[in-house]
Symmetry: C2
Subunit: 570 residues, 2 copies
């Protein structure tokens, strides 16, 4: 049972749960109606199932490697990239002015999700380009846009993000890479960057690096950082790759997973770069790219969960072991505990996907309508989509491994690869701890208004559902009330340490309540069908977790530092 | 900051939490008083810190391999084994009649825990021998005991367990290995066994396999299975390894972790074996070995958690990143979310260790006094010790990886190794799902009596603590009450599927409440000290999780099978 991109699940979510019709009813996305969305998803699914999924094991077994300074990619990855590029998938949400499809972020998120389930290490390459495309569209000069965007959108060239340095990880402001004006409008970039995903490849003509560096008059910290576009080959007068730039791949990391994706240490030795955005305005430009990438990484987690779930289900439906308790398949899928795991995997993947697609819908509506409320909704949901999506990828892939029993740790089955590959998604693009801190601090600077508006909607739906589905509606309403009280407590805390101490459980508790909301919406739309059955499972068994998470949150920082370093090490 | 075996933590637990004084006050273990225990732990810690911990990376980087049918172990592992054997650690709880130290299981569990944190893949070798020693002591003939026990206890020879076959994993009764009487009191064993940990090595003179197989008149299922001792080399008249037996290592598995431990596919081709226990009584004998091994595997999880915690703490205390919110170390350990992770790791490791040591105390008291109540306590706690210990190993090592940020997935740091190595402990010796099913079925055949007796003790301590520590005592009492109600619901379910559906969350909820109990005991003994501070953290932030787990349990199997296979795969 090979991977099959979950087109039907996604279409159900778009139609019945996350309100995609609102997106299609805007002028901007009027062409992307339900029929177009269906066609897009079906076409992308073919690519996922037939081209990308068969590459998944290749990347693990034959990692990208560095040969004489050049990255050699895993077998088939070049052909895989070509197919992605030819289908127009790199630029699916890119501007039509530069060859993009101009599709809503919602569809891009759905396609990223499906591709991630097929082959995560390869999917990371277009994801990086997409972030760069969006950053250039918003912040680059017209000259840079005209030169680079068509090449990036067509997939002739790829893009990367260069933020991290050894001493500057979560604290980007500590970076020490330098940019010196060359006097001709270009800059000389010098420094070392680490963790550069897809920092090089052997299947495109050029690799374009977006690099954060500090100008000579840049102040310390994030306010003195500027963003530069630094291509591997400097375009000649015809826009074709010309002279090699003064940069190189120093080494590739030896990682737990994602072996098909080369993670590069990059060295810039006075490499020629072009400013993107304003001088010292690098962080603003980078945030455009990172917000896109955060949702994208959340979708990586969700796709990984989907892939791991399908893989485990296929194993369970073949494996016979012991007397099964109900007349059914006669396989281990009939054992109550295995069924619990499979149902949990499916219910959690649904939840994470609904959050990510809701976030994408809010982004699209914010862009299409300019309404502040949609923008605030998108900002609120982005850290939840990233962190809960990738936590779900990790937990579901670990559960999938567990379903395999002893075979789960035997690498040949591929179960462990899902768990290894997805692990880093909870770390990169801002660790999930950073996401949670973003949620309780920056995203609550409105005094919790955006959060409360969403909680109102959750309770309003629960009230509407009370007459027909009281067993589902009541627990969701109550959970939302606990979330409301916890949110009120949170915004009252002026000491950020109080908020940060419970940030991760708050984000998780919030996601739990959102899960109840979206499962209830699904049940309302499919009252006698499988979505209602899955909603019942989630609301009875997984939703109760919100109470423990939110109690943890309200404990704040009291006593958190009561153990000294000596006690911690004792 | 290299690994340091947690001697002080374990001594505190023995003295103040798990009642080790009761063990030392029995006639049988009168010599193992607190001073002896301290000396034993201190001596074992030296071995862990100085000999075993330096081997941890070797095992990962230079896996055991099969060369021309012979296993070659990782560099240094032979010397490591020799040091373990010379210290008498293989036979620490073995009978003094055969050269063992005759120490309580409680101290053996503590030493296994400490060794697992130092080097899990090597520690698995003595753990396997210990299980075999106990099985032979209880079930083998005097002739077999006289011949094998001294060699196993001294570490001259090693022991293995051979249960699993490709079609017979959790369902051991499905095995097809055969035993034919040779007419001289020995048997010819034929069949293939998989997942045989330490199935061979290049550092002992012999490897003794305990093999489950079926005699010609054995009925299908577990009741027709017998246990045989099948040595790699057949002892000659002087008891020295003689002629090679008709068995071989076919291959080694390519695993996610534990690379230093060779996991063998074993082939028996009419190999000579000796019956252990009665004909068709193999499962009884095997259960002796497995109960020992289940506690031992729980300790592997706990030790791994300890190692991963120390490793992450050391990293956190070196890494500076961002402005920290409190005056303190100036490292990331001061960030509230990192501190939350470190405190969680420490509190969870404490909980898992307290459960395992309590289980070991109950085993020792059962053995020393013969009292049924202690035996029932041991039987009740064994699956919890195994499953919660290994879940904790997995969760804490994943959290340790997360503390490392991007460095967590870079293999050179070693953080990922902890997570990879410990993963299988949640699967082998009975998956954690099987442990939970054991808890809610077999261990509740007394109508919940043993569980209720423990819950009574938990509430009695909470009542005693109410006057001095109400903030800690009250939540523990309430949580125990919820556990009591859930246990009552559970034992009322005559349909085992209802119990099995919530078995895993029940076990976890039970462990959560036990954690509250043991943390409260620690707080009572150290009212103004770090143990009380850790207890406050646990009871405010982690104990609330019990409610969600137990609500999940009480949902039973209702609707669990509502999705058909087509729906699951949709």
């Amino acid at each position: 049972m090979p991977y099959r991109a979950p087109v039907a699940d996604i279409q159900f979510l778009l139609t019945h749960v996350v309100g995609y019709d609102q997106v299609a009813s805007t002028d901007r996305f009027a062409e992307a109606d339900a029929d177009v969305a269906a066609a897009i998803l079906t076409e992308a699914a073919k690519l996922c199932d037939e081209v990308m999924a068969p590459l998944q094991r290749n990347g693990d077994l034959h990692p990208a490697r560095l040969e004489n300074g050049v990255v050699r990619t895993s077998p088939g990855f070049g052909e895989g990239w070509a197919a992605i590029a030819e289908g127009g998938w790199v630029g699916m949400s890119g501007s039509p002015d530069y060859g993009g499809m101009g599709l809503p972020m919602t569809l891009a998120a759905a396609v990223n999700d499906m591709m991630s389930g097929a082959c995560l290490s390869l999917q990371l390459a277009p994801l990086m380009s997409q972030g760069q495309i969006e950053a250039l569209e918003h912040h680059a000069s017209d000259a840079l846009k005209d030169l680079y965007l068509p090449k990036l959108i067509s997939g002739e060239w790829t893009g990367t993000m260069n933020l991290t340095e050894p001493q500057a990880g979560s604290d980007v402001g500590a970076l020490s890479s330098k940019a010196e004006p060359n006097g001709d409008g270009t800059y000389a970039i010098t420094g070392q960057k680490i963790y550069i995903s897809w920092g090089d490849n052997d299947f495109t003509d050029n690799v374009c690096h977006l690099v954060l560096a500090r100008l000579p008059d840049g102040v310390p910290g994030t306010k003195g950082i500027s963003l530069f576009l630094v291509p591997k080959y400097i375009p000649d007068e015809n826009g074709n790759p010309g002279k090699a730039n003064d940069l190189k791949v120093v080494s590739l990391e030896h990682k737990l997973g994602l072996h098909g994706s080369p993670t590069c240490v990059m060295q810039y030795d006075g490499a020629t770069g072009w400013l993107v955005g304003a001088e010292h305005g690098g962080m603003a430009a980078m945030f455009t790219m990172m917000n896109n990438a955060r949702l994208g990484v959340g979708c990586q987690g969700i796709g990984s969960a989907e892939g791991a779930y399908q893989h485990a289900l296929a194993y369970a439906l073949e494996r016979k072991q012991g007397k099964t308790p109900v007349s059914g398949t006669g396989t281990i899928a009939d054992h109550a505990d295995v069924r619990r795991m499979l149902m949990t995997m499916k219910a959690e993947t649904f939840t994470a996907r609904a959050i990510a697609l809701s976030c994408a819908v809010a982004i699209d509506l914010g862009n299409a309508t300019g309404e502040a409320e949609w923008k605030a909704r998108a900002a609120l949901l982005t850290p939840i989509a990233k962190a809960f999506g990738t936590d779900t990828g990790n937990e579901v892939s670990q559960m999938g491994l567990q379903v395999h029993g002893g075979m789960g740790v035997i690498e040949e089955t591929g179960a462990a690869q899902y768990a290894r590959d997805v692990r880093v998604t909870a770390i990169y693009e801002g660790t999930n701890g950073i996401q949670a801190m973003d949620l309780v601090a920056r995203k609550m600077m409105d005094g919790g208004e955006a959060a409360m508006r969403l909680i109102d909607e959750i309770q309003a739906q629960a009230e509407r559902a009370r007459a027909t589905m009281p067993d589902l509606a009541e627990p969701v309403w109550e959970a939302a009330e606990t979330l409301r009280e916890t949110t009120e407590w949170l915004v009252e805390q002026s000491d950020m340490t109080q908020r940060f101490a419970g940030a991760v459980p708050y984000l998780r508790g919030f996601a739990r309540v959102l899960g109840g909301h979206y499962h209830l919406a699904a049940a309302l739309a499919d009252a006698d069908g499988p979505h209602a059955a899955l909603a019942r499972f989630y609301i009875a068994r997984l939703l109760p977790d919100h109470a423990g998470q939110l109690a943890h949150t309200r404990a704040g920082a009291d006593g958190l530092y009561a153990l000294g370093v000596d006690d911690l090490a004792a």
